[in-house]
Amino acid sequence: MTLLKEKENWVVQIPCEQPINEALFAELRFSLLAQKWYEETRFLSFASQREANPTYQAILAMGNTILPYLFRELEAGETAWFGALRHLTQANPVLPEHKGKHELAKQDWLQWAKEQKII
């Protein structure tokens, strides 16, 4: 599934062979909410303020089904999801020496996700 922005509208491209089912709608909902959250919070520097955003809360309310999508976003370079990952997994694999270096923290999370067979 590919999300494209055309002016103010989002266009979703779905391969013909992809089944239209609940999983697809969950992925679509997550993708649209995530884009909306990025746009609404990209100028905020503090996680507590980004995570107070209602769109973020709606994403969290989707529960653990979004974990693969969160790790996909992480792999794509979006490092704003650490709080969501901690909340949903109750884990924190970031090494103390990696605090502040979000690229390294991202690698810690991706390694953890592989070990947990989430990705």
Partner: protein, 147 residues
Amino acid sequence: MGEGTENHINSKLFPNSEKEPFLITSPETKTYNCLAWALGDNENWWEADEDSYWLPDLPENDDITTIVLLFEKLGFETCAENGYEIGFEKVALFSKDQIVCTHIARQLDNGFWTSKLGVSHDVQHSLPAMEGGMYGNVYVFLKKQNK
């Protein structure tokens, strides 16, 4: 320094940026945030959460009082005015509700200010350019003597 904004920095979020000096000075990056940039650090993300750089023995929140305490721990002291003083570096803390710190800007040697806008660009600007928008207004200034 020129004037004007790029189209993708929404002038509704920074309404004064269309009539005050406001210039993008870096590509977008997620490496550092406004607090890090105000401290001259472009390699770390500074905030009070489990993934970011923070000073020990500080409360774990982004209240104005906590951010002031952080700067004081690093040798700053509050000051009344924002004019450029030779031999001093200054920062300006922003707030919308006078409780939570929304943004920090650092003064440059040319008298203008520099800010990192979340995960977006660095910008060089006048203080009024950054006020009256999503960050609120300047709540307190701090300064430190240059070594």
